[in-house]
């Protein structure tokens, strides 16, 4: 089909990490100019490792990288940049108080350490680049005050300004609203038409089908399949990705909800900067239902969950659990009243990575009498049995119980955490981003557990930036925007597009009823 040599050709790439993990086992990969290649795979399949090799961040253990028909050996990202290869990472590398322009110019080749940034002289060329590729970026605003979507544009602009013609994007849509995603894809297409080669690392099937020209699927460090997007279907890609045809949907049977377990009235919470993040919020979560809160991150979801779980003191408002007001919102008091909390960042809140599985299995439960013997000593045998039980029941894969949790995969960490919380026999489960960053199998499993909780009559508050997750699991859906619920209603009342618009702060005309005046029920 294509006559010219690929821009980039990677052959037989092996990568063994110092700890012995073989992340890549002989991967071939190429990308042409003017082509969008989707690099698809589960977490841990080797996508990011492969692209880190290409962008000079990692050196391959074996294998060759060819650029424009010549073999190259990158020692660092600057070497790769000189060949026109640049990567935009999931975690941005911007300096928050600096303006977009300053961030773009920072670290530019040729600038001296102590000389001021050539802002005046470079402004025109940055502006020209933005216009050429059709990106809108306010150049003189500190990036910390820009929304995540715009920050990402700054990051991309920074990479392009360095002369990148092979652009690698690592999960670029994870923080964008659906509207922003559409716009972003249009931008990628324009860039492709200009002749830029684009590699899109993703695990979202819809994105692959929508924007890419070709798909490369990685599974456990090898290429599981490669095909033009035109001949791909979601089912086929999913099968290549996980190796077997898994039901992508969790089964959920209709169920009549019962009494309210959690009642929130007039809750107002401030964020770390002192700004109101949750504004006068009222809602209920009832027995046997999942209330899903959708929304772009940063609209007060974190503060809401932290207040409900005792990690952040609310400014005002009341929280009732099973009809009884909780006077002090503190973790232990809430746990005693039946709260299970799957926190948004498992490594930050829910686990102590340096502790082993046994010690992590009682994190938050360490004061329960069943785990203690006289004089406040830990009852080792009981705790050990309990940890074994967790590992067995929730299929946690670990070499042994004395392994520090740090060396488990994200999926297994989350299985341990969710298992621990669920085995508390809670009345209310508050889960935030419960499947973020997990492999497909673990994602399905965690979602199933949440539905099981619901079926067992627990109240489940699910807060997630993953729209599909909210749509798939929830009995009722709320959309959070600027600290408030802009829509709250039965899941059937929401179409995907409606939620997408609400997430972006747009109240769709036809769905004004669902959006306006959210009642507590």
């Amino acid at each position: 089909m294509r006559e010219q040599a690929p821009r980039v050709w990677m052959r037989g790439i092996h990568k063994v990490y110092p700890d012995g993990t073989a992340a890549l086992k002989g991967v071939d990969f190429h990308v042409h100019a003017g082509e969008i290649v989707a690099l698809l795979g589960e977490n841990g399949a080797g996508k990011t490792t492969l692209m880190k090799v290409l962008s000079g961040l990692l050196r391959p253990t074996r294998g060759e990288v060819w650029v424009d028909g010549r073999p190259v050996h990158f020692r660092n990202p600057s070497d790769a940049l000189r060949c026109g290869i640049g990567m935009v990472h999931q975690v941005f590398t911007l300096v928050p108080p600096f303006t977009a322009l300053q961030n773009v110019l920072l670290g530019q080749e040729g600038t001296r350490v102590l000389s001021p940034l050539p802002e005046a002289s470079a402004r025109a060329s940055v502006q020209a680049l933005l216009e050429e590729v059709g990106l809108e970026v306010p150049l003189d605003v500190p990036v910390e005050s820009l929304p995540v979507g715009v920050q990402q544009r700054v990051e991309i602009c920074k990479t392009l300004y360095r002369g990148t013609s092979v652009l690698i994007l690592d999960e670029p849509t994870s923080a964008l609203t659906p509207v922003e995603v559409d716009e972003f894809f249009r931008f990628l297409s324009r860039l492709r038409d200009r002749g830029t080669a684009i590699v899109l690392i993703t695990h979202k099937l819809r994105e692959v089908l929508e924007v890419s020209d070709r798909v490369v699927v990685l599974r456990q460090g090898v290429v599981a399949g490669e095909l033009p997007t035109s001949s791909a279907t979601a089912e086929k890609l999913a099968e290549l990705m996980v190796g077997q045809l898994t039901a992508l949907r969790v089964r959920r049977t209709p169920r009549a909800p019962g009494q309210p377990v959690l009642s929130v009235r007039g809750l107002t919470v401030r964020n770390d900067q002192g700004r109101v993040a949750v504004r006068d919020l009222s809602f209920d979560v009832r027995e046997g239902e999942i209330l899903g809160v959708a929304g772009v991150e940063g609209n007060g979801q974190s503060e809401l969950v932290q207040a409900l779980t005792g990690l952040r003191r609310p400014e005002s408002g009341e929280v009732h659990l099973e009809g009884e007001r909780v006077p002090f919102l503190e973790p232990l008091a809430l746990y005693r009243r039946g709260l299970a909390h799957v926190p948004e960042d498992k490594a930050r809140f829910g686990l102590a990575l340096g502790f082993d599985l046994v010690e992590n299995s009682i994190l938050g439960r360490q004061r329960e009498p069943q785990f203690l013997s006289w004089l406040g000593r830990l009852n080792r045998p009981v705790i050990l049995r309990y940890a074994q039980e967790l590992v067995r029941r929730f299929h946690v894969v670990a070499p042994d119980l004395a392994t520090p949790v740090r060396s488990l995969s994200g999926g297994n960490q989350q299985r341990l955490l969710v298992g621990r919380e669920i085995s508390k026999e809670p009345r209310l489960v508050v889960a935030m981003h419960p499947t973020r960053g997990l492999d497909v199998a673990s994602t399905l499993y965690i979602r199933e557990l949440l539905v099981q909780m619901r079926d067992a009559g627990k109240a489940v508050l699910l807060v997630s930036a993953d729209l599909d997750e909210v749509l798939e699991l929830s009995d009722r859906i709320a959309v959070m925007y600027a600290g408030q619920f802009v829509g709250l209603g039965p899941a059937e009342a929401f179409r995907r597009e409606t939620v997408g618009l609400l997430m972006g702060g747009v109240v769709p005309a036809g769905d004004a009823d669902a959006a306006r005046a959210p009642s507590p029920h």
Binding site: R59, E330, P331, R348, L351, I362, L363, G364
Partner: protein, 346 residues
Amino acid sequence: MRTPRALRPLIESLATVALGLVAGGLLIWAFGHSPVAAYRALAVGAFGTREDLLETLAFATPLMLTALTFAVGVRGGLFNIGAEGQMYLGAVGATFVAGMVPMPAGVHLAAATLAGMLAGALWALIPAVLKAWRGAHEVISTIMCNWIALHLSMYLAINFLAEPGRAERTVPALPTARYPVLSEESTLTAVVFVAVAFALLVYAYLWGTRAGYELRLAGENPDAARYAGVRPERVVVLSFVIGGLAAGLAGASQVIGRPPAWSLYATLGNVTTLGFDGIGVALVGRNHPVGGILAAVLFGALAKGGRLMEYEVGVLSELVRALNGIIVLAMAVPELWNLVGRRLGR
């Protein structure tokens, strides 16, 4: 065969010590001495006879305790470098009860020991309270407290505890408040058993109780500790108090557990730097109570054997202290190694 996980830190520490000794050997060689002869003298001096070994343990006793102070701080997420001052106050407290408050035998010894420990803990409460309720950084406050403790202790020693007619030291501990000497040829007393027992007790507390678990959790991950309902102020106070008890015991051990003086010098000369030395000992002992005991024996051996090294080979005793420093510096090597590995290996 993979190394059992529990032994890894021990092996790494031993490798570090070996590395430090090699580097120290180069230093000795650079000063024109034979490293082999010097180290032989060091080993003979530290472990040559039963008495040498006991004396090494006498040097190690206060170090394992001040190392414990630092280690408990780190385990709780604190950088407590106040062992020095807490130890001074411990020595003062023990001197007061042991030398000026007559009591029946048996009770007296226990009372003097406890007085030392409590004085250390009380002194540790100052930075603890400042940290827990005012957010004052413990590094700053403990350094300041160390200086205050130095001058306060000298003032107390000279003005209230001095032995009549002898300006250079305090009243000696009454015979009822002295730990039994274990061997006439060395200065080791039964206080070593108290020190080891206390270190083991702290170990059992940190790893075997709910409160110890919460303390280590707060040190490992403060956010997860909040999630688990742990109050950060409590952990700060608890870890400072345990550290203060250990440092106070270290100070007491040099007064009521160390012949021939059985008293505190007015210049505090028989206790100075023991608190700071404990930091290095704790690092080599991987901030573990048991590791601290082993590392203290090593540093005790360097202190004791260094004297023979000076006497026989002519190596300056300052070089021995330099050796201590090099070993502590070498502790940074594993991390440096990882860093280099990240640069080259990936």
